[in-house]
Symmetry: C2
Subunit: 444 residues, 2 copies
Amino acid sequence: MSYTINETHDPQLTSWVESAQRPGTDFPIQNLPFGVFKRRGSAEEPRVGVAIGDQILDITACLGAGLLDGSAARAAAACAAPNLNELMALGREYWSALRRQLSALLSTDSPAYKRDPQIAGRLLAPIAGAELLLPAAIGDYTDFYASVYHATNVGSMFRPDNPLLPNYKYVPIGYHGRSSSIVVSGTPVRRPRGQSKAPDADRPGFGPTRLLDYELEVGGFIGLGNSLGQPITIDNAWEHIFGLCLVNDWSARDIQAWEYQPLGPFLAKSFATTISPWVVTLEALEPFRTSAFRRPEGDPEPLPYLFSVEDQRHGGLDLILEVYLSSQRMRDQGMEPLRLSRGSFSDMYWTLAQLVAHHSSNGCNMRPGDLIASGTVSGAAKESRGCMLELTWRGAEPIQLPTGEQRRFLEDGDEVIFRGFCERDGFARIGFGECRGVILPAIT
Amino acid sequence: MSYTINETHDPQLTSWVESAQRPGTDFPIQNLPFGVFKRRGSAEEPRVGVAIGDQILDITACLGAGLLDGSAARAAAACAAPNLNELMALGREYWSALRRQLSALLSTDSPAYKRDPQIAGRLLAPIAGAELLLPAAIGDYTDFYASVYHATNVGSMFRPDNPLLPNYKYVPIGYHGRSSSIVVSGTPVRRPRGQSKAPDADRPGFGPTRLLDYELEVGGFIGLGNSLGQPITIDNAWEHIFGLCLVNDWSARDIQAWEYQPLGPFLAKSFATTISPWVVTLEALEPFRTSAFRRPEGDPEPLPYLFSVEDQRHGGLDLILEVYLSSQRMRDQGMEPLRLSRGSFSDMYWTLAQLVAHHSSNGCNMRPGDLIASGTVSGAAKESRGCMLELTWRGAEPIQLPTGEQRRFLEDGDEVIFRGFCERDGFARIGFGECRGVILPAIT
C-alpha cells in the first residue's frame, strides 16, 4: 500500500529551476503537485502542470518535446485536458512513473536541460502569470466530520446536554456536499442569505447570514474509482486516493442551526466551498505518514471493516495547517495577515483510508475526481481550532485584530487564507500552497 | 410562467403511430417525454428520443431527414448526445419549439408522413428493443422532504416526543444526495451492508441491512441553471425546470437510524437511487397544475422568498403515483405485482417552485441536468404512504402478499415498481412509464 521512499524524495535533489531551492518554498523538486492552468489573459486551452518553485512545468509541452516515454508518456498524454480526471483514472503506476520522469527532467543533473537550457522557456510558465483553475471535475463531494475535538466542541454548543453522539466513535460521520459551488482559491465568496431564527424570536427571518465562518479541512481526491456495489477495503483505500488539497468549507452558522435537523447541513454550506489549486500526491507525502490517532483508553476499536494494522501504524499524516485572516482595514494599512490557528492533520480521529473504506462500504461508487473532505481539523489545544465558531466559542471570546477590530465571525472584506505544509528532519519541506477567499457583501 | 395550453395538448390529436392511441398508454402524442436510448445490443451511440406509444422517435434522425427547422432544429441538434443536458441548457423557447414540431410530425395529419409513410421505419425504434439510459449527466442530486405527512410519520417513529421539528413549516428541508449511484430503471439494486445498532445492543455491528426500503418520489430536472451567487426567484423557478421523472430513493432504515445524527442520511441512501428513463416536460404537464397544498389553519404562511400568488394557485401538480411489489415467488407463480399504495403529488407541503427557490436562495448554483427530488410522497390516508417504513409502521403491520408471504421490509428478489400518471377530463392521459428495480442479495 505504501509508496517507497525513492530518489524523488531525496532531500539533496536540486532543480535547475532556481526558485525551487528557495528556503521555505512550498514547491521544491520533491513535491511536484499537480494543477490545471492557463496563461492569464490568453485564449489557450487549460491543461495540467506541476508546480516547481515559482513556476509551472507544462506537462503537455514536455510530452510534445519528446522528453517523456513509457508509462510516463501515457500519463502525460492524459494531461492535455482541462482537469486531472483522466490522469487520476490511470492509477498509481502511471502517477508514479510520471513523477519519476518529471523529477529527473527538472533535476540539476537533467541531461535534457544540460543539452539545451533553452527548454526552460518552452516548458515553464510563471505561477504569477497563470490562472489556476479547479484541478478536477468533481462529480461528488463528500464532507466528513473526522476530528473528535471539532465534533465535541461544536456538539457542546449545539447540544450542550449531548455533545458527542453515541455513534461518533464507531461511524466516520459524513454527508454529501454540493459540487457545483466548489470554487478555486482566490474566487471571492458572496455572503449568503438564508433563513435563521434568533433563540428569542417567534419565527424565522430571511436575510444575510450574521454568523459567517470558515472551516479548515483537508480534501482527498479519488484517483481510481470502484464499481457500484463493490466496496473498497481499508487495505486498498490508499491506492484509490490520488492526492490532497486544502478545503475551506465556508459555513453560515445561523442558517445551519435552524435548518440542520433532521437531515443535516444544506444551504448553510452549499453557497461556496473553496479548494487550493495544487493537488499534492500521496507519493510526495509518503515521508510524512504517521500513526493513526491514538484512541484514549476506553474508546472502542474500529470495527473490522475500518481496521488494519498498516492503517493504524501509517494512516495518519503529519501535515501542519494554518489559518490566517486579513481584514480590509488590515490590508489598507499594509499589515500582514494575522495567524488565527495552527494544528495538525494527525489529530484526526479517523484516517483518510477509513473515510474511503466507510464511504464505499455500502457499495457506493467513487469516481476519479470525487472529493472527500476531512471535516474541520481541530486539535485539543485552543490554538489548533479550525473554525471561528470554536475559536471564539460562538462569539463569546472575540478575536482581536492588530487594527483594534474584533471578530466574532467573518465580516465583509475579510480574507481567509489557509496554508499547509509537511516538515520532517531528513526530508524536504512539502507545501500545499494557499487556499484563500475574500468575503463580498450579500446581494440586496 | 405558465405554458399555454396549445395544439400539442389537444385531446383530439392522434398520431400515425398506432400504439399511441391505445387506451391507457403512458405515451400518447400529447406527452412526448424525452429519454436517451440506443438499440439493444447495437454499437450505436446513445442519443435523445421521445416516447410515442410503444416506439421511440429518434430526434437525430428527424433532423437528418430535414423534418425540423428554426429553433426546433437547433434544439434537435442538441439531441445527438448521450444525455439531455445540452437540450436542457437551451431553455423553454427551444424545448417548446421542438415539442410543437415533433407533435406536428407525429400527428395523423403530418404532411411528411402522408408524403412518405416509409419514414416510420427510419425515424422510429421500438421501446421493447431499446436500451434506455440515464436521461442526464446529473452533476448534483438533491433530495427534499416536502411531504408533511411523511415527515410527521417518520418523525414520530424516530423521535416520538418530537415528530415534526419546529423548522418544518418554514424551511423546505433538503439534503445533498449521491450522484454517482443514480441508476436507470431496471438496474438491479444490491442490498447494502453497513453499520447498525440494535436498541438493546451494547455496540453496533456491520452487515447486510435488515430494513431495506423504497421511497416513492418525484424528481425535477433543472433545465436552465443560475450563476453562483444569483438566486432563482420563486416567480422564475418554473422556468428553470425542464421536466419530471419518478425517483426511488432506496433506503436502509437500520443504517439510517444509527448514522443520521447529526449530519443527516449518508450511506443509508448512497448505495443506489433509481430513476425512470423518460422525462415528462412541464409543458406536457401544464393541464394538470393545481393549487399548492392548502395549509391548515394556524400554519405559517411561506416567507416572502417562498411565496407567490401564482405558485399558490398553480404550483401543485395532480400527478397520481402508485407503488407495486412483486416477490420472486409471485413472479415464479405468474402473479401480477401487488399494488401497495396510491397517492397524489398534490399532497406535498412544498411546491417544486418553492424547492428551487429555496435551494438557490443562498446563491447556490444549479446546472442543467441537476436533479431535485421531492422526498417521499405520502398523503394523509394510509393507502397513500410512499415507503414501507410508513406502510408497515416500522414492521408492526406487515403487508400480506398473495402468495401468503409477509413483508415488513424488502427481501432479496423483491421487485419494486413505481408508476405515475396524470388524468383530467378534457385532456389526454399523461404517463411517466415505470421506475423499477429488483433487490439482489448482499455481497458476502
